[in-house]
Each structure stands twice: as C-alpha cells, then as structure tokens.
Symmetry: C2
Subunit: 197 residues, 2 copies
C-alpha cells in the first residue's frame, strides 16, 4: 500500500482502501485510523466523506454485493434454451460463485460474512434484487408455458428460500462437504420439478 498519492481524496478511493484494510486486518481489527493511514491522510478527512465508520462499512458491503449481482443479471437477461434450464443455470451460478468465494479465501469470506450480518438492511435490498431476477426467469417460463406459478413473486421467493442452504453464508461450512453438490442437485431438481407446468 503506497503511503499516499497526491490524488484527490474521493469516496471511491476511500472505499477501495477500506476493502484493502479489511482484507488485511479483518473486520474486528480494521479501524478508520488504519484506513486514513493507508491513504496518507488524517482520519478526520475520512469523516468528510462518510458520516461514520458504520456508514463506511455499509458502503463497502453494498459495493461487494453489487459486484456479485452482475454475473447473475447476465444469466437472467440472456436468451436460454428454456426457462427451467435457465433457472437451473442461475441457481448453479449462484451456488458456485458463493462456494468458490468461501472456499478460495475463507478469511476474506468470513470478513464479508461479518459485514453482512452488520448490515442487514443492505443485505435485504440485495436479496430482493436476486429474488426479482428469479421472478423474471419464472415469468418467462410461465409465458412460454414451461413453468406454472399463479403468484410469480411468491414462487420466486419460495425458490430462493428452498435453496437457502446453498447460498446463505451461514451454511458456508457445509459447502466443503464432498456430498454438497449432490444435495444441491437434488434440491434444485425438486424445486424445478415443483415449478414445471
């Protein structure tokens, strides 16, 4: 981390550095003073851009979640063979992304899990977005006659709830089990079958 550049201090730069500091020190040790030090400014300056440490961490959480939605949005809006297969692909992409994040860098994942529980409001908005994507896929299926659902948002929510074990970070430890993929496939198959016209 270079001690400073004469670049202007922007919210964006602060967020980047906060991520860096969180990655290095973890969620309990990372302080606003650390962030300021890494940026080569006083901690008072950070408070010019974010009203509190909580707001700063919330913004980091939001950014992180926003990034992870992009790929799923691509699946959602891309044309696919059929709605059921798109649904399966979407669920698998979500699971695989989470599983790799958790498996490849467990410490960083644990850090973000802490941030997530700290910022349930941001998480709720994110989940709403994901469920909305599911709703769009299901609508597509209903329109094409391959899926059946009289209340699409409720069905989307049900699919999301039913697959919680494969995306809720609380279950991250289970994702290391060698049988987890079989279990994922069983649940996915059950859910998609339940939704078929």
């Amino acid at each position: 981390m270079p001690p400073a550049a004469a670049e202007p201090l922007t919210p964006e730069r602060i967020l980047e550095t906060t991520e860096e500091v969180l990655r290095r020190f973890g969620p309990t040790k990372a302080t606003v003073v650390d962030v300021a030090r890494a940026l080569g400014v006083s901690h008072g300056s950070v408070y010019r851009h974010f009203p509190s440490k909580a707001a700063l961490r919330e913004a980091v959480t939001d950014r992180w979640l926003a990034r992870s939605v992009v790929m799923l949005e691509q699946i959602t809006s891309a044309p696919a063979e059929s709605a059921p297969s798109k649904l399966e692909a979407w669920l698998e992409a979500l699971f695989e992304a989470k599983r790799h994040k958790a498996g490849d860098d467990p410490e960083l994942f644990a850090t973000y899990t802490v941030l997530l529980t700290e910022n349930s409001g941001v998480v709720d908005a994110h989940l709403t977005e994901l469920i909305d994507q599911l709703g769009r896929i299901i609508s597509e299926g209903v329109a094409a006659g391959s899926l059946a659902a009289d209340d699409v948002p409720a069905a989307a929510r049900a699919v999301f709830d039913a697959t919680g074990r494969f995306h809720d970070p609380q279950y991250a430890a289970d994702w290391l089990s060698p049988t987890i993929i079989t279990e994922f496939e069983a649940v996915t198959a059950l859910v998609v079958r339940g939704l078929r016209a």
Copy 2:
C-alpha cells in the same frame, strides 16, 4: 428448588436439575457447581455420573431433542389420507413446534440453540432420525403411487434441506415475521408438488 432430598443421586435427577439450572442461569452462567448446589451435593458427586461438563450438557441436549421427536414419530407412523397430506402435516408440525418453542420462551430457546451448536454430533444424529421419518413417509407415497422418487433417502434429504428456513434455529428470528406462514406454505407446496407422481 428444594435444597436436597435424601433420594439417591441418579443421572436422571442430575439431568433434570441441570435443565433447571440452564433454564434459570442460561448457557454461559450455568456451572457444574450450580447444579451440585441445587442438588444439595458436592460438585465432585456430579462427576461420579458424568465424566465432564461437556458430557453433561450433551446428555441434556440429547434428552431435549429426543422429547421433540415423539410427536413427529406419531404423525409418521399414523395412518393418513395420503402421503402428500401426511408430508405436509409432518412439515407443518415440525415448523409449528419450533416456532412455538422459539416464540413462547425465547430465552430458553436461545439456551438450547447454544447447546445445539455445542453438540453438533448429537444434532446430526437427530437430523438423521428426522430425515429417516421423512423417508418413510415418501416410501409410503411411492408405494401408493401418489409420490415419485427414484432415490428415497436423497429425496427425503432434499425435502429437509429445502424447508430448512422453517426448522433451522438459525432462522428463529424470521419466525416472528407475519408473512412467515405464507412463505412456509409456498415452500411446502412447491416441494410437495415437486415430489408428486
């Protein structure tokens, strides 16, 4: 709590008193000395019957889980209109039981949640038992032609996983939401539909 009776000190009495002490002091404050005091004996005597505090707490956990299985076993082995409706009744009984335990005495529920995370081995055995009951209901449905499943144990497991949000204590906070019942019904309907022949 009477200071002692001249009754013989049995594992059963110790377990009862330990439950009592856990209920009153919570999982972090309850000590073996407290249990001994409540029984009117020295704490050394408790160690005559249980090799460690951990073993004692594990035994309490086991007892508690065993008690809660009885009602579900009754549903499992009772005759029913159809396998799908028995499956629905079983899932609803499980959810309602948990929801009431969590809602009626949140502190006690929190205490047991701590014991549960401490004793994952006991919990795993308990979950296996529950999933086994589900398997028996599904088998019955397959035999009667009302349900379809080529791998019954896997299907049972999938049903259990898919309904996790409505029995995993980690979600207990959600059970207070006024929409939770609707969500439960949506997931149950989806899962049962996915299993229908």
